[in-house]
Amino acid sequence: MNKENYVIAAVVIFGVAAPFLFPNYMVQISLLWIMILFALTWDTLGGQMGYNSLGNITFFGVGMYISAIVQVGMVYDVALYASPDGAALTGNFAPTQYFTGLGLGILAAAVGNVILAILLSQIFFGLRGPYFAIGTLGLALAAGELLGAWDYVGGSGGIALPVFPFDPTTQKFFFYFLCLAAAFLTFAFLRWLYKTRFGLAINAIRDDEEKADAMGIHTKRHKTVAWCTSAFFLGISGALFGNMTGFIEPLEVAFPTVTFGIFMVAMALLGGKGTLWGPVLGAFVFHTVKELTWTYLLGWQWIALGALIILNTVYFQQGILGWAREKWPETFGITVDKDMSSGSEERGTS
């Protein structure tokens, strides 16, 4: 068993023990797992494949809405439920109805997102570099606006999700462990994925797409599959977050482009993009610092966030893990040729 497995085991033990150790912060820690999922799925495209998306939050929101429609639609008419007359229906779900609805809702969110990602990749993967970033940013903004105008799901007023059939503490535990499981699954899947040929192929696309194409990698297919992977897990996180919050509306909860949408990028960059552990570390540091300081900054927190993004991209682009890797390469299994490196130092000093 190597060092990495110990770290994974430690994180999982922390994850399982945390709700019992810090019961008052359970919601915040659930959010931490979702943040880790965010950063990991952003990094699949942004870090590993070199396609920096500013609109991955679209899948989060779409997943949330698909899950809501499935959960409600199984029992009631969605349009009636979302209208003011349907307000009394939110608590009217039997436990079996609720749990089958939730299960199917999460599944539908994930699968629906994969289909959406396949469709969108037809349009968006023709765009390169900054055009891709701006186009996806537009996608997220448009999705929020369009869902706000769709009265079937409550329009800009939003829609309330079915109420958990048991007491609130059980609900917290239930969703805490679902979030933990989702983040762990994402991590495990991506860890496996990056070790396969597929991981190498998307790295090749990042390094030089034309050359990768020339070497016989079917770039379009790889890019589509990578986005589908991202979308699949983001859909699950959206469904979970919607149910945790209990009420969803387009601009603030489902498509929060300037909060969660940017946090994803900021966390992956902070931790070190293009690495497996970087996004995890970045999400952990970012979320912890944010939760501890956010309320004390009195309105300045958003300015601090903007400044953090600027500083991070301008002065500290390699991120925490990238910096550590340069500092202590041996720890990361990189063999340093002593003669070569000392030689270069001598050259540097002379």
């Binding site: 920096n52 023709g126 701006i134 606006e145 960059l269 993004i309």
Partner: protein
């Protein structure tokens, strides 16, 4: 929706109203888009804080009205203070990302956009503001079409400003240096042009143009700390549709965008006006991609 289209067919005079409003707004979009194209073309930085610079300029006019000064006077301080602001931003942020890959500059300016909008939010609050110019409103066609004097004036100011910038770029030493740098920065350096200074000046000039555009926006439309993002996206739509260094194209695309927005706002409802901008962005990007795909050879 169909009712609204029928209104336009039955009373063609409303078309004139929409066209005029679109052109008045579009002229200002053209200014911001020209600034973006300038920075993009000269230093290859895609400035996502463009709309925030515009909104920042708009608050100069708003502050002027608070002190009882006519908002038109705010044009001068807005232009020069924003010029200084642009210079500082260049020195602090842009100069560090200029040699890096494009996403770095995009994300850094996105961070800048966040800082500016939140700073404005702290300073002025999230209310929608407008700088009242107190000018008369004319009506033509028996009162069916209304045109505010300030809109005509702002169109004239836009034209003067754009003409001045073009003249500056063509005739002055600095303008020539900017154009030389955009053609080949290395060769410009060899010829003794201080490209660092040219870059700083270009970004500052862009901020100043945006500031002036913002003053006009605040007089004929509304400003709010978070309205910058649609302005940035508008500028991107215009520049992407027109292409870099194509000034007539920028003007036509901007006027077209203004008109398109007015029409969709009228036909689909005001809440779709912003969605239209974003959907137009995606359509323009797709169209460009289609154009490129005709020349690109891909193994399938």
């Amino acid at each position: 929706m169909w009712d609204n289209i029928m209104v336009l067919v039955a009373a063609p005079v409303f078309n004139i109203q929409l066209l005029l409003d679109g052109i008045f707004i579009g002229a200002i979009f053209a200014l911001a888009a020209y600034g973006l194209a300038l920075v993009w073309g000269v230093m290859n930085v895609k400035n996502l804080a463009q709309g925030e610079l515009v909104i920042m300029g708009g608050y100069f006019a708003y502050v002027a009205t608070l002190y009882g000064i006519h908002p038109l006077w705010a044009l001068i301080p807005a232009f020069f203070i924003m010029f200084g602001f642009g210079w500082v931003v260049y020195k602090l942020i842009i100069s560090k990302v200029i040699e890096r890959d494009l996403f770095t500059s995009l994300l850094a300016t996105f961070g800048l956009a966040l800082v500016i909008q939140q700073g404005l939010n702290l300073a002025f609050g999230p209310e929608v503001q407008t700088a009242n110019s107190g000018m008369a409103i004319r009506s033509i066609f028996d009162g069916l079409v209304t045109v505010a004097d300030i809109r005509i004036l702002s169109l004239i100011i836009c034209a003067i400003l754009a003409g001045a910038v073009v003249l500056f770029m063509k005739k002055s030493r600095m303008g020539q240096a900017i154009r030389a740098t955009s053609q080949d920065a290395r060769a410009a350096r060899v010829m003794g042009i201080n490209t660092e200074r040219v870059y700083a000046f270009t970004f500052a000039l862009n901020a100043a143009i945006c500031g002036a555009a913002g003053v006009l926006i605040s007089m004929i439309w509304v400003i709010q700390p978070f309205y910058g993002v649609p302005h940035s996206i508008r500028a991107f739509v215009v520049v992407t549709a027109a292409g870099l260094g194509n000034l007539p194209g920028v003007i036509i695309a901007a006027l077209g965008l203004g008109v398109a927005e007015q029409y969709s706002g009228f036909i689909l409802g005001a809440e779709f006006q912003q969605a239209t901008v974003v959907i137009l962005l995606i359509l323009v990007l797709m169209w460009r991609q289609f154009q490129m795909s005709k020349t690109r050879q891909v193994v399938q």
